[in-house]
Symmetry: C2
Amino acid sequence: MDSALRSRLSAAGVAPECAATIELVRDVLARVGDKWTVLVITALADGPLRFKTLHERTAGISQRMLSQTLRSLTRDGLVTRTAYAEVPPRVEYALTPLGRSLGDTVAHVVGWVQEHQAEIVRNREAFDGDDPTAR
Amino acid sequence: MDSALRSRLSAAGVAPECAATIELVRDVLARVGDKWTVLVITALADGPLRFKTLHERTAGISQRMLSQTLRSLTRDGLVTRTAYAEVPPRVEYALTPLGRSLGDTVAHVVGWVQEHQAEIVRNREAFDGDDPTAR
DNA sequence: CAGAATCCTTCGGGATACTG
DNA sequence: CAGTATCCCGAAGGATTCTG
């Protein structure tokens, strides 16, 4: 299965027989495409933040999801978690070099969207206009 | 809200006051991160395909989701749908220039993942090993 | 403050059946 | 062949409460 992705991967110079790669690519792609990941990474792009500040800067995300997202990112080595033994507790999150690298890559996609957003909006309007039943 | 993304966008040269941009960026990002979009786009990268062939090449996706994904992509102007008035019916899907452009951009992310997958896997193992209770 | 745990609702998406 | 319509379950995720 996944012959399509596989062919694309092989075109990129990846051994076709590596099925694990495909799964991981999907996995990471899913994380990047995740509703919250990009938001968190971009929030941390400007520098380390503690939990609460991060929560404020990423308005819309629940504390549960933020916590969960941060743990995933930390696990993948994209973010560091530093807890200070103080009272009240203070925990700071920061991008690792790997995380910054991913942020830059994602920024390309963001750039693409910005470059073509007008066209996409126009396409949607044309589509919806041509066939009102669709949506 | 979304001050983080906004600041990142402004760093990329986007007017900070444009809130609609943020929503659209998220929207398109979500589509790209979607489980099936990348699969379909990469499948179409090699040339036009009819529905059934596409379904075979994208093993794992249900016909319902394929149909749904294709309609979204068509609506955004990333894919063209060409129906031939024959019997039995034949419908061909193909990437538009815009779709190909997006495919190339996404390929960068795919490339990033490939370049760093070993590191990510190592990070995960280290994380899980250090704290068995996690994940 | 930083989060873990619990509860509960929404919905993505698969299986199946039907239509043009 | 190329879909649309129905049904349905499991997972995602928000609100709330509890703990160190």
